[in-house]
Symmetry: C3
Subunit: 158 residues, 3 copies
């Protein structure tokens, strides 16, 4: 059976985890839009102060940072610092042929850690809670990548 076949349970687990993380990342953009509409501000481009159907009463303060919007932007930046690397590391990890048990634990564990990190950040929980959840995901990512590197160095040798 081909490794990158959805009948391979390890690859299918990766695709489920990756799809959930991609949807999560896209959702941050949409959540930013929702909050900008709610607070009628937090914009960034000068042209967004033009009088249009969507912004009938523009004010200069609309370009100032708004904490409700900035919070989502910080969460999104944290995603950008982590998720693209998880998406590639997870795929390469799957190609080393790990056991389904190990793969599911790491891949779904990562997804859960990121969703809880999101909840903690959105709800402004203490830094310790947010940091602990981020650390779990980051260590899973480091473990998968080191595992993959060791497997590849065996194959890449002269």
């Amino acid at each position: 059976m081909d490794t990158l076949d959805l009948h391979n349970p390890v690859f299918a687990a990766y695709v489920v985890a990756a799809s959930l993380m991609i949807l999560k990342a896209i959702a941050m953009s949409w959540l930013t839009v929702v909050r900008m509409i709610q607070v009628k501000g937090g914009y960034r481009a000068p042209e967004d102060l033009r009088r249009t159907a969507i912004n009938p009463d523009p004010r200069p303060e609309q370009l100032a940072p708004d904490e409700r919007v900035e919070r989502i932007r910080r969460i999104q930046l944290n995603d950008l610092e982590n998720l693209p690397f998880f998406l590639v590391a997870g795929l390469l990890f799957v190609l080393t042929g790990p056991s389904p048990w190990l793969a599911r634990t790491l891949l779904y564990g990562y997804v859960v850690s990121r969703l809880l990190h999101f909840a903690a950040y959105l709800g402004a929980r203490n830094h310790e809670t947010r940091a602990a959840l981020w650390t779990v995901g980051s260590l899973i990512l480091v473990f998968m990548t080191c595992w993959t590197l060791v497997a590849a160095m065996r194959g890449a040798g002269p």
Copy 2:
């Protein structure tokens, strides 16, 4: 025929779309460089104020944000929030074996939407235009990812 073979028209369409989007993303870095050279400013690192062959007459204002440079940085940040996820989502979508017609429509539609979004942002068109073009790309991404997730959940089941 192997799925990840360039003789597979669906995979080849993905590689064309992905390559164009990667080149587009890299171009934003180069465009930032071009504009920093044009305005002789918009720098970010304190050491960029040293007197060198490239910056013979340094001034503190060179570290202040310059709108001509900041506009490209905003466009690039928008790319970072979208393109890495498209690149992975598109690859996984291709691995679910969609029809060439559907794959080409979504993949090339995404590319066109992003190029038009770039043109609208660069030219400071109204927020509505930019937002509409971004939305087209984002919905294509959501559709591809949900399609892939459903296909994977069938394979990942117990």
Copy 3:
């Protein structure tokens, strides 16, 4: 032999390069954390000013930018602008079946250019040094992507 098999030396070289770059990217997050602990500041979220075991004596200045932390954040942003695209471009390049010599030169050359770029940025070397190292990596990325695009357009044709 399957292309995406670690016994394929070209793919193994990609996986080694990709794993090193992923670990490098993750290391930037950890380095940011280390420096925030060292300077007891450079935080970004308002809730990080709460009195906790980790921050027993909170002060408003802890939310102000700190250059020692900001330097790592700039390096990390530069990674986000480059590495995700290298990770995907490298994989697609490998799937075009380049010679092991060419693949190793480009992939390992990219890794070396990025590690030197990191050293130059961390050590606040002159802009020219940093820019030259960034340019090497960016041109490798452009070359790999154009190579891949040409190969794919042959396969994607009608």
